[in-house]
Amino acid sequence: MTLLKINGLTKTFGGLRAILNFDLEVKKGQIIGLIGPNGAGKTTIFNLITGFLHSDSGVVYFKDKKINNLKPYQICKLGISRTFQLVKPFLEMSVLGNVIVGSIYGKNEKKISLMNAEKNAIEILDLVKLMSKKNVLASNLTYGDKKRLELAKALATNPELLLLDEVMGGLNPVELSEFMKIIKDINYNGITLVLIEHVMQAIMELGEEIYVLDHGKKIAFGTPAEVSKDRLVIESYIGKVD
């Protein structure tokens, strides 16, 4: 079943074309990778999907429903959550508090009580291994822990589709393999994932299909093996090889 479908997405900033005619399809249960050199427009696509930015043209369908003009909080309630590359926890709140916000206001808003939201939050903190720090003020966390919190917040909203933006950037090898396991667990529990990543090891191992973006255009698409051999892809990362 197709969960997310994007047709002809285009976005311009001033005179600069950030995204041009981008297509994407994600089926339920998949892990999709989105890679490309810096500035290719990957985060812009996430921003467009989640309503943070408005597209100039093109359509985004979530479960066959057009979500282009919805506000971010509405899209979140439909079942799409994302993390930010530059982590933005609620600095004035504790770790637990941060996640509780997601538990309350995500997909479950109408039905959940504060007590249950807290229970839900604790389960999630357990999953990302932040339980021991649940009462710590978010501003006092290490970088790696802030990344875990970012993931926890998004998970708390009970998404069907989770967009992770460079969630593994800056992690040491131990943290990296932990995160990869967590992501596999999340996917195993039924959540569809799209990952923007620079950490090639992670994306090649996790991703079923990879989209490659350069200067706002899709330049390649396929399995990790196919994509890593694609000439255009190699050129875009390393520069033209003559």
Partner: protein, 312 residues
């Protein structure tokens, strides 16, 4: 969820407050009424501040409450208490309309617009009086025939209601929305929180109480005029008291209101000294103690998470 120590504290506080008219002089009772009025204003302002909005429009809704109440009396001769509640009600409606238009704005835009609202209302009322050749000051019959005791009990009940509302908010799901909006509005919207909706809720609740306090004013003082009820110092007071006592905390506005009101009454040389002190408090508080008294104490007790309202 409420500890026994907390319950005992509040129980005795309410008893004490209830017995107050019998314990102190009439003059001090007048000050106590003034303290309660300020508690209501401070607590209400604090509620809006929790959503990250800085309102300079407190005086505007105070004045709306005051003039609505007066007008209801003049036109319909309703009983005093009904007039006062109508004042609160209309202030809430006005805040809803104003909020729908202006609460999308953030920071300085919102602050200035609320300030402008107050000034525009003040000026409008002055002009209305001028055009219709009415004198600026109007006499109003004092409630309960001038028996301060009953006026005190009335405002005490409203004050307690506002405090209970504040506590209930801080223990509710909504508080998470408020805090997330205040901390990072964009982040909040990405996690499913509709910022405008909660800002409006806070604003309307706050304005309701401010409007009641405003409605109370003419029926306690016995007169009303635009300069008095749309006085920007009402807005200033609403900001300083929570700031001094501890912004975003439950007890902060209450402590701030009590301390600063009593202080300003005891040091009453002339009006200018008040303003000078308010200004100095603001400057010093921001530079050295941005969390206020209660907030600074809270920081010292960091073992408790920020999220749970501390009653003691």
């Amino acid at each position: 969820m409420v500890s026994r120590k907390t319950l005992i504290f509040w129980f005795f506080s309410v008893i004490f407050a209830g017995l107050l008219p019998y314990l102190i002089s009439l003059y001090n009772l007048h000050i106590s009424i003034y303290v309660l009025q300020n508690i209501i204003i401070a607590v209400s302002w604090n509620i809006v501040a929790m959503t990250g909005q800085m309102s300079f429009g407190t005086a505007g809704f105070f004045g709306i409450g005051a003039y609505t109440a007066t007008f209801m009396w003049e036109l319909f001769k309703f009983p005093t208490i009904l007039n006062i509640f109508l004042g609160g009600f209309l202030a809430a409606v006005a805040s809803l309309i104003f909020g729908l238009i202006c609460l999308r704005m953030r920071g300085i835009y919102f602050a200035v617009t609320t300030l402008g609202l107050t000034e525009a209302l003040r000026v409008t009322l002055i002009m209305v009086h001028a055009i219709s050749f009415r004198p600026l000051g109007t006499s109003v019959p004092v409630m309960f025939g001038g028996l301060k005791q009953y006026a005190y009990y009335f405002i005490l009940i409203i004050g307690l209601a506002s405090i209970i509302t504040e506590f209930k908010i801080m223990k509710s799901k909504m508080f998470y929305a408020f805090t997330s909006i205040r901390t990072d509005e964009d982040g909040a919207t990405m996690i499913g929180v509709n910022p405008t909706r909660y800002k409006i809720i806070a604003f309307v609740i706050s304005s309701f109480f401010i409007g009641i306090a405003g409605g109370f004013y003419p029926f306690y003082r016995g007169y009303i005029e635009p300069a008095a009820v749309f006085d920007v110092s009402i807005s200033i007071v609403g900001i300083i008291m929570p700031l001094f006592g501890g912004l975003y905390t439950a007890l902060g506005p209450i402590i701030g209101a009590i301390v600063l009101t009593i202080l300003s009454e005891k040091l009453r040389f002339f009006l200018t000294a008040n303003q000078l002190i308010y200004g100095l408090i603001l400057v010093i508080a921001i530079l050295f103690m941005p969390k206020g008294i209660v907030g600074s104490i809270n920081s010292l007790r960091e073992k408790y998470p920020f999220l749970f309202p501390k009653a003691m």
